[in-house]
Symmetry: C2
Subunit: 336 residues, 2 copies
């Protein structure tokens, strides 16, 4: 049933995105437009078939709108806004992290250089705000303005979280408190905003908007915590020779931070210097022994519960509400 909804809305999301990117003023700068179309997966440039990403955020927007008894079509401008904001942040993140591949293709900075990539990200950022303009026609001026405030607040949190992430790279140790602040900004804020903006477009009360926003917030946190779990105990990282393990990459994820705060043998090993691929099995077993795996699972489970409770508090007894729950469970079942 969720799949039917996805099949129905996906062409409309794409059409809305195409509409926004075809901004009349952008026509004067075809080279810039071409970079954006490449990044969004529309321009092939002789590359292989293109992955446009999962577009999970716009889907959340549209589901939230229907969950509060609105029409998903009204919420399309907001759906485009969150997807463009997400894509803007990917362009800049790839520069900041020196990431060379994204969705199986060269990243924008790798292809066009840093200067043009920074600038193209700025344009996409702008278009994300511009996308909301049409909410004035599909809903009301007030809804457009409220959504804009949500988007702005989200951008502050998003860049705040990214600031922490970059700053933390230089430190070998980090508090779990800082970790929560970072992922709340970097991962959860935009999911929360997607739900809130869908609720606004669908005509929800402030109360309902709040609960749906909280649902998105906890959904985002849980998603990230589970990602951290997979980064150490996921199939690909379990082989004992994985160079992809977060242990080798030196990422400061939740299980690692837990064990560092505990200050046992893992902490000693971590602080002694980089972990090699051949030591991954041994070191991840240390993490399990010291309770980092079960702590991570408990946190994910707690966040799942909070997400589901927030969704229930929003009292969306509609088809849309049920679809939203279905999507949430499918995202959260990664934890089982």
């Amino acid at each position: 049933m969720l799949n039917d909804f996805i099949r129905e809305v996906q062409p409309a999301i794409d059409a809305e995105l195409q509409f926004v990117v075809a901004h009349p003023k952008l026509g004067s700068y075809p080279g810039l437009e071409s970079i954006l179309r490449y990044h969004l997966g529309w321009e092939m440039n002789g590359e292989k078939a293109v992955d446009q990403g999962k577009r999970i955020r716009p889907l959340l927007v549209l589901l939230a709108a229907t969950a509060v008894s609105g029409s998903w079509r009204q919420a399309l401008p907001a759906a485009a806004a969150v997807e463009l904001l997400h894509n803007f942040s990917l362009i800049h993140d790839d520069i900041e992290d020196c990431g060379e591949l994204r969705r199986g293709r060269e990243t924008v900075w790798k292809k066009w250089g840093q200067a043009l990539a920074i600038n193209a990200g700025d344009t996409l950022f702008t278009l994300s705000f511009d996308a909301l303009k049409r909410l004035k026609d599909t809903v009301s001026l007030d809804a457009a303005y409220r959504s804009l405030q949500v988007l702005i607040e989200t951008c502050v949190q998003l860049t705040g979280g990214q600031h922490l992430d970059i700053s933390f790279e230089k430190e070998r140790i980090l508090s779990i408190d800082s970790y929560w602040t970072m992922i709340a900004g970097k991962t959860a804020a935009l999911l929360s905003a997607s739900l809130r903006m869908g609720a606004i477009a669908g005509g929800a009360s402030v109360d309902r908007e709040y609960h749906l926003g909280q649902f998105g917030h906890f959904l985002g946190l849980s998603f990230q915590v589970w990602d951290d779990w997979l980064g150490i105990w996921g199939n690909a990282n379990q082989t004992g020779k994985s160079a992809e393990s977060d242990l080798v990459l030196g990422k400061k994820t939740l299980p690692i931070l837990f064990a560092l705060e505990r200050g046992g043998m893992f902490a000693e090993r971590w602080l002694a210097g980089p972990i090699q691929a051949q030591d991954v099995m041994e070191v991840s077993a240390l993490l399990v022994d010291e309770g980092a795996q079960s702590f991570t699972e408990e946190q994910a489970e707690r966040l799942n519960q909070q997400a589901i409770q927030s969704l229930q508090a929003a009292k969306c007894k509609t088809d849309g509400g049920r679809l939203l729950e279905e999507l949430a469970l499918s995202l959260l079942k990664r934890n089982k």
Copy 2:
């Protein structure tokens, strides 16, 4: 009289900027806030007394508001928005151009590294939009929304112009047409927006907003053309051993593009390879001989005329209108 006005409004502009940057969500990321405060010239960090920039754009906003019989206080949120947008673009431009000094101090990327600088620029970009929020209280929701549309349009042009500027660096030759498109986006768009947003805050008709916007557009173009003139024939670049001359820097400014299109001896010399500091006197004399200097002066004069005509078309027979003319003439008299 203009100086009285500047003295009166400057503390209010600064207070408005401080208010916007003290965004409640930003408080969770003190390291990020500190970068922004440094860039805006508020945090000393042990550096020498700080130049905060001329703040010419917010001044234009406030003058436009009074010129159309509004109160400059109502327009303060728009004044903050354009100043923050200008400052955001400086952070990213400095990365893109590898500029190490700004207003006599190290640039943000030089001090904190590229990753944090790109991200801090994104935050400032966000705050520029956020600044407009208070227009809803000082004027109306409609004015806030219209100003937002102007700001968004301006950002597309600004990044479009910057895209051209970066792209052109790799080319040895360039059409004058492309030059006008580039400086319209990179320099004139934000000045035009400043005037339009001041007009909106002051309650101007759409017609008057248009003419004031055109005034800002031509003012910006004229300013840039005169800057190009100074880059070759300004006092500091006339010494015959100047390494600062645009000729040595290889910048593709208007007089140079004119002579390149003409295809005479200057073009031959330019295409033969980089110009050395000791050749500056000789090569700039070539430019004069081939008519590039007089062409540049004619263009600046034409743009001055168009600026003044646009201001007259706006029919602002107020004290504010006279101050705006005074400011325009003081900016344009650089051409005399």
